[in-house]
Each structure stands twice: as structure tokens, then as C-alpha cells.
């Protein structure tokens, strides 16, 4: 991942975008987000009675004239927003660059060049981080997935100039070995008490244990989670043909012997629809933003269309 992969026009469009946050979080420094704190913006927030030591420049003299009591005018504080990008770097995310085996799968892939899920994930993480930095928010990237616990690739950074560091960290990110649990990764992330804010999860969510616990932990903690579900074309439209012994890339389960005939693929797609519907329903039920993208989709399309449609950016 490098800045060169994002052309100037795309970067300008990213600068015009803003991450949507329904929750209001207390920021660290001044920014452009409403904060839970009262501050010095021009937006009126409340009144309170004057107490000794208050800045008398904030006394509402009109109210004193009418009520003969001193009231202080309070204004909304505008601070920055912490944006945590949790990028799944498990072994399963390293898939997606195989040439689609049949013309049908190629058509289903939209004819776009094949791309690894992790590659798209890195670009999405970079784009979201840049979007945040350009909006005077702070952004940090975490690597989750694999047997290892979540690892912060960068601390929360502020300012567009820091995007290079994020790019470098993402470029150096390699797939993490071993099988891990999404729920465990989220639990570990939360236990490290990161700054409250928006959490964007970029993952294929291929976890036999499910993701419900992790999603709830984020949603009902001091975070506003977003889920970007990345799947490869061969996962969405597996090719037909051949008798195979399917081996899990993360060695999370025993191999499965299967003849990839039309009937088997049809059954797979039924199960896939059922699984995707379950994840989408879970997110909708708990008010978690959800977007599903194919790894062969261009990152511009994902950000400007899919994430906009999912009201993650505006």
C-alpha cells in the first residue's frame, strides 16, 4: 500500500468525505466533532448558574436584566474523534488472488482483476484512516486475526501528514499465522482500553464460533462499531468441477472431502446466503453499520459507493 496507489483525485475526494458518527465522544484535542464537553464553539448548549471563579464574559446579561440572577451561557465543545481500524490479517484473508476457475465465476467477479482480501483490507484501512486524518480526527490501525492477540500497528495519529506512517505500517503487515477467534480479539482490544470512538472492523468474519459476542461488546461499550465484510469472488461463487479435499487455511477444522459438482455448489451457496443473512441481521439488529464487498472491487468503488450506501461515510 502506498500513497501512489491512491491518485490525487481520489485523495481529494477522500478529503471531502467525513466519517459518520452517531454517538458523541469526548475528544482529546479540539477538533470538528461535537464533544460531550462544553467548550468554546459558537453553538449554544445550555445555561448554568454563575459560580465564583467563572469567566464573567460568559454571563448572559439579558437574563440577569430579566431575572436578576447571574446565568452563564454554555457552548458545545468541538473535539476530535478517535477512529480505530481493526484489520483482520488472518490466513484466510490472504486468499482471493486465484484466477477464477470458470467463466461464470469470472463474470460474477465483474471481470475485475483478482485481488487478495487482505490487499483490499489494507487499502480500505488506509482510505478510512486518511479520511479521518483529513477531518482532523485521530486514526489508529490494529491488526487482528491469527493466533496472536490484537496488535496496534500505529497509535492514534492526528494530522494528514501522519498518513505516511499508517501506509508504511500497513505495507509491512503480513498475514498472521494460526487460528484465532474474532470474539477473543475484540475482547482483547477492549481490555487494552483504547480511546473511545469509532471502530471499523475489516474482516472476512470466517469464524466458526461466530461474531455476535464481539459485535455486542463493541456496540455496547464506548465505541461505535462499523463492519466491512470482505469476501473473495471464489467464496461468493465457487467454481464447479473436480473432487477435492478442502483444507482450512487456518487449520481451524478438519479437511472436508467434496466433489464440486453443480449440486454441491448449489448447496454451498444456500449455506452462504444463510450465513451472510445472519451476519447482516445481527448488525442491523444492534445498529451496527455493515457493508459487504468483494475483494475484486476497486477500493474507490468501495469507499465512494458501498461505504456511502452503508452511511459509514458522508
Amino acid at each position: 500500500v502506498s500513497a501512489a496507489l491512491f491518485d490525487a483525485a481520489f485523495l481529494r475526494r477522500l478529503e471531502m468525505l467525513s466519517l459518520v458518527s452517531r454517538k458523541v465522544f469526548a475528544g482529546k484535542t479540539r477538533g470538528e466533532r461535537r464533544s460531550t464537553r462544553r467548550g468554546g464553539s459558537v453553538e449554544f448548549a445550555d445555561y448554568r448558574q454563575y459560580a465564583a471563579g467563572d469567566d464573567f464574559r460568559a454571563i448572559d446579561w439579558n437574563a440577569y436584566a430579566r431575572l436578576e440572577h447571574l446565568f452563564l451561557k454554555l457552548f458545545v465543545e468541538e473535539e476530535d474523534l478517535a477512529v480505530h481500524v481493526l484489520l483482520d490479517a488472518s490466513a484466510s484473508m490472504a486468499f482471493g488472488d486465484e484466477e477464477p476457475e470458470t467463466p461464470g465465476a469470472r463474470r460474477a467477479a465483474g471481470g475485475a482483476p483478482p485481488a487478495k482480501k487482505l490487499e483490499l483490507g489494507k487499502r480500505l484501512a488506509a482510505a478510512i484512516a486518511y479520511c479521518a486524518l483529513a477531518g482532523y480526527d485521530r486514526a489508529g490501525v490494529w491488526a487482528i486475526g491469527g493466533a496472536a492477540p490484537p496488535e496496534p500497528l500505529t497509535p492514534l495519529l492526528r494530522g494528514k501528514g501522519r498518513i505516511r506512517r499508517i501506509f508504511d505500517a500497513l505495507t509491512a503487515l503480513a498475514p498472521r499465522e494460526g487460528a484465532g477467534s474474532f470474539n477473543a480479539a475484540v475482547r482483547s482490544f477492549v481490555e487494552r482500553r483504547p480511546k473511545s470512538g469509532v471502530v471499523v472492523v475489516i474482516s472476512d468474519l470466517l469464524d466458526p464460533a461466530g461474531i455476535e459476542e464481539g459485535v455486542k461488546r463493541l456496540r455496547y461499550g464506548p465505541f461505535e462499531p462499523r463492519v466491512i465484510h470482505v469476501l473473495s469472488p471464489e467464496e461468493l461463487h465457487p467454481g464447479v468441477g473436480g473432487d477435492h479435499r478442502l483444507i482450512d487455511s487456518e487449520a481451524a477444522a478438519a479437511p472436508v472431502e467434496v466433489s464440486l459438482d453443480a449440486r454441491a455448489v448449489r448447496l454451498y451457496q444456500e449455506r452462504l446466503r444463510e450465513w451472510l443473512g445472519g451476519i447482516e441481521g445481527l448488525c442491523r439488529q444492534h445498529g451496527v453499520g455493515y457493508a459487504r464487498v468483494s475483494s475484486d472491487t476497486a477500493v474507490e468503488d468501495v469507499v465512494l459507493r458501498a461505504l456511502r450506501a452503508a452511511q459509514m461515510v458522508a
Binding site: 468441477g241 473436480g242 473432487d243 477435492h244 478442502l246 478438519a254 448447496l267
Partner: protein
Amino acid sequence: VGLLAPVGLALFGLAVPLVLLYLLKQKRQDRVVPSTMLWAKVLSDIQARHPFQRLRANLLLLLQLLVLALLALAVARPVVRSSAREAKAVAVVLDATASMTARGPGGRPRFEEARAAARELVKNLAPQDRAMVVVAGRAARTAKALTDAKEELLRAIDAARPEEARGETRDAVLLAASALKPFGAAGEVHVFGDGGGGELPSAGETGVAVRFHAAGAPGENVGVTGLDLVRGKDGRVEVFATVENSGAGAARRFATLVSGGKPVATRELRLAARSEEPVVFREALAPGKLEVRLDGSDALACDDAAYAVLLPPEPLAVGIVGRSHAALERALRMAGDVVLYAAAPDAASFKDDPRYRLVIYDGYDGPPPAGAGAAAPLGPTRAAEPLGPALPDRPTVVFGPRRSLPGVRVLAEVDGPEITGVERDHPLFRFVEPSGIAIARARPLSLDGPGRAILRSDRGVLAVESRARRDPLVVIGMDLRESSFAAEEAFPVFVLNILHMARRQGGSLAPERIQAGEPLGVRVSAEGGEGEAALVRPSGERVVRRARGGRADFLETTEVGFYEVSADGKTATVAASLLDRDETRIEPRAPVDSAGAVLATEAPIVAANREVWRWLALAALLALVVEAWAYHRRL
């Protein structure tokens, strides 16, 4: 629809291992996927650990079973018929006489043409039909008895070979008809030939339908149809040959006399269309092989030469017993090289006197009255004995017998019999036309043992050749004085034929000349007449046979050329020639039955029973292509 080879369906048994292959778990290729989570949920049935998996509807399996079924059906050679009908019994009669070796314009023997048509007929038979194969060569032979096994019938047809001999199709048709008689109207005799081979039996004689399938096309042919040798008083040998042009155009040929392998003389022949010319050579020849050969080639090869063996000069002694007819004596004297004796009917005297090589009984009524003098004394006369079982052990001819003879029963006298048929291939009636003979009285004959009826009349058989003893016995049931036979032009020829027979059989190992296909009898004295005799055919094939009763008969004389026979430590050469006008006249013709009706020629056989194995094989190929396409498209 029927099957010519139902055993081919066994090929479909391969479906069992094919299905087993699908039931067995295949060896699978390892493939790493992001996650097996969904596959494990969906395809738990595929994960079953049994060696066999549940047989599912699989397009590839269905296509492979279809290919196998189509191939098995094709191997079973199904035939399709337009309509069903009752079972038939069919006899295939293949004309295998010499004229069937004639080659057409394309060089294809007409026998091959007849064979192909016969094959087509057999292939068109319905499965419920039965058929037999009869080969009509010199003798009628059942090549395959009635059967419904089409393959065996086809093999029998393929194995049939034409002979370089004349033959009678009539006998073959009668043989076939006798086998089909139980089937009544369902029986059919199909004759495949060129219409030669004599007349066919009438519908009344056969009792079944006879159909004729013509083979061959008209062609040019010139052949030798007659050959005789006469040794003159000056020691020279006169060779008389007859050459016939049976073609529609004039022909110019050269006839060459070959003696001992060297050409001796040549005559130019200019033959008009459908004509014959005599050729005479008068040469001083050494005893041995003789051959009259025509130059060039034509449609029929086996009549382009005639063969003979010239024996050393030796006068033939003929004993005449009874009131010898003057015409008989005159004819015998005309033949030359003959010494006549008026002999007494004393068997013992013939045994003692080796001079007699032929004995003719003519007008002999029994023991003559003492001193009556039965005939003019031509030579030494012995005491008379009744004509009885003790006939002389020489070739014997009896005219007008009054009582039965060994192997021949003499029936009651009849008045005015009319001659109705003659065995033209019998050596005694060669070039003899007996139909004009007027007979006042005669005694019909009946064979009591092995032998052959030669002359038939409306009142019974009038001439037979008995083979009840080692030497031939020819009996003519009419007295020369009670018929016009002795006055006929053909009578001297008949006498010449008698002399020829005597020369052939009179004490030698075997006759020196036969007609191709004629049984060849070899005298054997060793081991009490039970020794072995051997025959080497012109093609080099050697046949060994054990004799019975002092005689070994060889039927393997269907080639023209020189045969070598050996027995008792002696060897002899036998010449076999075609010498038959009917076979030389190769123009195909519609046969006539004995009632005078001309048989219609059947239309060429159309394959009504179409074999469809080619279409099935093509369908199997297409199914295989679809299977390959489905495999690659991973349907």
C-alpha cells in the same frame, strides 16, 4: 427390431464396474481454501467415512452408462424391420459350378456376386426365420443345416468355394426342398447362380417355392469342350478337340498341342459368334501328358485347356457274348485298335484270359442250346454258362438282360417306353443324344446297391451303372433289336464311350482321363483290398484314403489339370478337364424347370432388415463427446 448377435449385450455388464467406480470414493486433490466452515456445514454427507458413497444422480455417470448401453447394443448388431411376419424356412442354394468362376468386367468372379447376394438374404432374415445353405457343385452338399444362427449361416456361405467342374443345380434344389417340405408354404428355396447347371425341378417336384437370383454378366469366352485321342494304324495319334466360342462376338484364337510340357503344333482358329470349331492334330506323340491349350485369356479360365494322358499303344480285347448285333460289331471295329472275340459267358474263362478288357453281353438269353452257336465265331469259344452272379471281373456292358444281375434288378417288360431324361455328365452318354430313340419293348431296371441311374423313361429307368462290384457294370434295359438305338447316329459315339470306359478301367490303377469333379476310383490290391491310396491334386494338395473292397474313391477332383495317384507301390497320372458346353456357355440365363416354365429372376435383394449398429456407434460417439464437454464444463 431383432439382434443378430445377442451375446454382444453382455458388454453392458461393464456397467457394474462402472457404477462401482462411482460408488467408490475417488482419490481427491488437496486444495487449501480460506475456510471449510461452510463446506463442513453443507456437505456433511460427503464426509461419510464409508468406502462407498451414496449413488447420486450424476450427469457424467448417466452419460457413461448411455455410451456403454449404445455400444453394447451396437455389438449385438440390431436389425430393424418394417413389419413383423411369420417365421420362414429358407434354403440358400449357391451355384458352385465352373461357370461361376467366370469373371465379370471388373474382374470379380460371379460366385462372389452370388455369395454377396446370399449374405444379404441371410442378413435380412428375421430372428425367427431359419435357413440352410446348400452348395451345388459337382454334387449337392449341405454346407449348413437348418438353423436360426445367422452368424453360422454367413460363415458357411463364406466358406463355400466354386469348383472347376460341371454340376446339376437340380439335385441341390431337390435336396433343399426335401429339408423344407415340413414347412409347407413357409419354405422357400433361393437359388443364387447364373442359370446354368441344367434345368431345375418343377414346383410339383419340390413342393416349395423356388426363387432365382441371377449373378454375373454376359462375357466373351472361348473354351475347349471336347477332346479325344485315337491312335492310328501308322502309330500317329489323332487329337480331336472341339473349341466353342460362346461370346456374342467373333474370336480369333490359337490352339496349341502340348506334349510332355513342350508345344508340338498350333492351329489358328477363327470362331464366329456362338459357334464351335473342331481342331485336329495328327502327330507322332510319345506316351505321357497331353494338353490342348488356347492362347489369351477370357472370362472363364478353367476351360481354356483340356488335358489327357496318352497311354502306350495296346489293342483292346473285347469279348462279345450272345447274338451280337451287326451295328455293334461295326461300331467296335470302326474304333480301331480293338480285337473282337466271340466269348462264352464263362466267368472262369475271363479270369484265366487276361486279353479281355471289356465284355459285352448282347442279345444273350441264357445258356445257348448246345451246338446252336450264339454268334458268329469271331474268336475262341468256350463252353456256355448261364449269365448269373459270376460275371467276369472286367468292365461289363449288358444290353437287354432277361434276369436280374448283381446290384441290378430287372423288372417286367413294358411296351413303348419314351425316354424322358439322361445323365449327360455320365461318360457313356457324352455327346450322345438319346431322346430320339424309338423303343418297342424294354425291361425297366432298379438298382439294388450302389450305382447310378443313367437313362430314364416314362416307364422307369432304362440304363444304370452298378457299383456293387469293383469293375463297372453297365446295364441297358433294351435289346438293340427292339429299339432304333443301333441305327441312330449317336450309337457309334456311345460305343466309343464304352471303349473309353474300358480303357480307363481295364486293369489299370485308375482311369487316365476324367471329367473334373467326377469321382476317381483307384484300384487297390494291397492288404486284401484295404490298403491306402494317395492323390496329389494339381494345386499340390495331397489326399490319402483307405480303400474298401479293392477301391478307393476320391471326390477331390474339382480342379482341372493333372492328378497323380499312387497305390500298391505304383503311380499313375490322371487328366481332369472341364469339357462341358453348358459351363463354357457362361452367358447368364433364367433357368427353366422340368415342366418347361422359365423361372423369373428376383429383383436384387434390398436390405429390408437394416443393420443399425453404425448409427448406434455414432450415437455412442456423440454421447462420448457430450460427456467430455460436460466434464470440462463441470456440469
